[in-house]
Amino acid sequence: MTAVQATGLALRYGRTTALEDVTFTLRTGVTGLLGPNGAGKTTLLRIVATALPADGGTLRVFGHDPSTPPGRLAVRRLLGYLPQDPGFHPSFTAFEFVDYVAILKELTHRATRHTEVARVLSAVGLDDRRRSRIRTLSGGMKQRLALAAALVGDPDLVILDEPTVGLDPEQRLRFRELIADLGERKTVLLSTHQTEDVMSLCQEVVVLDRGRVRFEGTPTELAGLAAGRVWTSAAREAGALASWRTGTGLHRHVGDPPSGAALVEPSIEDGYLTLVGAAAEASAIAGGAR
């Protein structure tokens, strides 16, 4: 089932183009949104989350049009949103914070709401910290609490803007476990810089660069963009898009391989680098020509 259908979305801030002709589709499962800083990822997420109206294009979320008040309300009823820098009320307990969000999501029956709050706190592993003041929680706990707030009310569409930033490896793995579980039943749009998160979690990936969609497909297809363009050698090669020394002592290169190069299996990171690096190079050439 199509959860989100975006067609030709556009947004400008004055003379700056934030998004241009953005088209993609989201279905049940986890979709990764990749892109360099300033690519427009957060802007796009905010538009899908109804926090920001688009200047142009059409957006349908479960068939609802968020550009109309009733449509926006209908979308919000189905939405869980974790922004990039979620704020907290330090004096609230973890339970109170999620309960408050649940009230604003119009979960009105008190007993049912409290059961739901307990459920999501348990889901993110904060069951034993439900009575703790937020000011006493660690950064990782706060991030899980923000996720709990996004998940309360069992939303059909969950939008997560870089949820694993600042988490240690163990916390990140546990987050992946949670999001993967969520993706079995819901539509999750995950914005991240972590290509390994995308590889291990996402069924689909959208790459956004300078306000435009550069790629939409599976992570394997993204990795496939670098097929035949990744090789290893004993020394650094200046002509490659990227080149670095790996743990084995060999150098790994992404770019146009020389003849006879020892090609290796590309990763999603290589595909992303190929896509974004090539675009950046093309842009630089175009800029130089002007």
């Binding site: 009823r77 949103y81 979960l107 476990e177």
Partner: protein, 533 residues
């Protein structure tokens, strides 16, 4: 962290309906009200508000003869800056919370619209108003339970602290939706404090502006009988509620609430604010007549109680003062010779309220005017069957009031008539009166010393109205105060020389000769004093 999301069945928001939204509004209001009630500022304000009552209760210094309407006015004046001020700041903090903690990005996409959220903040003020009612009710209830309490508790006045809490709380919410700074609320509270300071100055009390102010301030500085106040509490309450509704409508309009809701709020608010505001300042046609009755025909509206051979008459609701008056009368009669204790007509004490002498602007009459009024009272007393009644004030409970009544009683027993007012009491009778008041009881002595500390040139047995307060020149008071240390020697001499000492023509020098105390030479100023004939 364990992935147990499938353990409990998830709950989802109910489909959109007005009823569901109302439930969410109430849930939000409940959540916020609990936080408001638990806020440290609310707790501190509650303790500060109750501090005077707690201090009086713990130290035993509380007035045992409170006048309930006046207590309620005092409570109102405290409630405005303390309870109202804390409600303003707390409500402002609640309104700005999402902004202060940078949670807006998350909250902006939640279901409950902004207008309903601020509606929840406004509704959350109601329990705070309930707390104000409770806090106001504690000292008032405690006072009302005292046997000496006077007057009755007007419900509209009792509700005024709650209305003030709602009003300033709504100001806090409005400030929050208009200006995203937490500095505004304390500044508004400061402004409220300045305004309240202005309110209690005669500059405002004497003008029509006081009707527009949120606190009810009596134009009288002492308690007055029921029915003579010019600002009906119920209309004042309606005025406050009307302003609050207008503020709430402004909040909802700012949050893009439905036009019908805002319009309804504006209409209701305007009706209450304008209706209550105008009618509270409109002169009541019966007010002037009621004031004339209280001042000049008190006997017609008073009740009387007979204790022993003394009749005590009082305004409605002031019967609780009688035991206190009786104690003073008994103590004064105990220090005069037995024959004098029953001199003249049967002893009576009548409560009097001289309204134009006790306004906030102070006494503005003249001695001649005072004597004319007192003469009228004497005529009324005679007609009411209580000739030469001793006059007593509408305030009671402190030592000074006891000393003032003791002086009136002493004069009545010495002269076999009530004090005429106006002129100074001179000669030996003046000194004797001072001695009798000081000798009657420790309370009257303490009250007299207190009055003496605040009197200059003469000892005035009244700290409020000069209309019927007995005045004794310092030259006559000094030897009597000296004699208070020698009660055992003096009492027999008082009994023996009673007739001579109470005769108006007996000079002060004779008093000095009888008791062996020095008398100050007559100063030129003393010669000019108008003395009671």
């Amino acid at each position: 962290m364990t992935a147990t999301m499938t353990v409990a069945a998830p709950a989802r928001p109910t489909p959109s309906s007005t009823q569901g939204r109302r439930r969410a509004l109430l849930a939000l209001a409940r959540f916020e009200s609990i936080r408001m009630l638990r806020h440290p500022l609310t707790v501190a304000a509650a303790l500060l508000f109750l501090a005077p009552w707690l201090w009086g209760w713990l130290s035993g210094s509380a007035n045992r003869y409170p006048v309930l309407p006046d207590e309620l006015i005092t409570i109102q004046l405290l409630a405005l800056p303390i309870l109202g001020g804390s409600a303003l700041i707390v409500a402002n903090l609640v309104t700005l919370r999402a902004h202060r903690h940078k949670v807006d990005a998350s909250y902006d996409v939640l279901v409950l619209p902004p207008a309903w959220r601020v509606g929840g903040f406004l509704l959350a003020l109601l329990p705070l108003a309930g707390l104000s009612l409770l806090l106001a009710g504690v000292p008032v209830g405690d006072s009302a339970a005292l046997p000496g309490a006077a007057g009755s508790v007007d419900i509209a006045t009792l509700l005024t602290p709650s209305a003030l809490t709602l009003l300033l709380g709504a100001v806090g919410v409005l400030a929050g939706v208009l200006i995203r700074s937490v500095l505004i609320a304390p500044l508004v509270v400061l402004l409220v404090l300045v305004l309240e300071f202005l309110v209690i100055t005669p500059l405002i009390i004497e003008t029509g502006w006081r009707f527009l102010l949120p606190v009810y301030v009596s134009e009288f500085t002492v308690p007055v009988p029921a029915g003579v106040s010019d600002r009906p509490a119920a209309r004042h309450l309606a005025y406050l509620i009307g302003i609050t509704v207008l503020l709430a409508a402004a909040v909802l309009a700012r949050a893009n609430a439905r036009r019908q809701v805002v319009a309804a709020g504006l209409v209701v608010g305007l009706i209450l604010a304008v209706g209550g505001g105008l009618t509270q300042s409109r002169p009541d046609p019966g007010l002037a007549a009621a004031r004339v009755t209280v001042e000049e025909r008190a006997a017609s509206i008073q009740s009387c109680e007979i204790r022993g051979d003394v009749t005590y008459c009082f305004f409605e609701g002031f019967g609780g003062f009688v035991p206190g008056w009786d104690a003073v009368v008994t103590s004064v009669r105990a220090v005069v010779p037995a024959s004098a204790a029953s001199s003249g007509p049967p002893l009576a004490v009548r409560q009097r309220a001289s309204l134009d002498a006790i306004t906030a602007a102070g006494w503005t009459g003249s001695i001649a005017e005072d004597r004319r009024v007192v003469a009228g009272w004497k005529v009324e007393d005679a007609a009411a069957g209580t000739p030469e009644a001793v006059r007593v004030d509408t305030s009671w409970g402190d030592d000074r009031a006891a000393a003032a009544l003791a002086a009136e009683v002493a004069y009545r027993l010495m002269a076999a008539k009530a004090y005429d007012g106006g002129n100074f009491l001179c000669g030996a009778p003046a000194a004797l009166l001072v001695w009798l008041v000081g000798q009657a009881s420790p309370t009257t002595l303490a009250g007299m010393r207190s009055l003496d500390e605040t009197s200059f040139g003469a000892l005035s047995f009244s700290d409020i109205s000069s209309r019927y307060g007995i005045l004794v020149p310092d030259r006559a008071a000094a030897p009597a105060l000296e004699l208070l240390r020698r009660a055992d020697e003096v009492a027999p001499l008082v009994e023996r020389h009673w007739v001579e000492l109470t005769a108006p023509e007996t000079p002060l020098e004779r008093f000095g000769a009888i008791f062996g105390v020095p008398i100050q030479p007559l100063a030129p100023d003393d010669e000019a004093l108008p003395c009671v004939a």
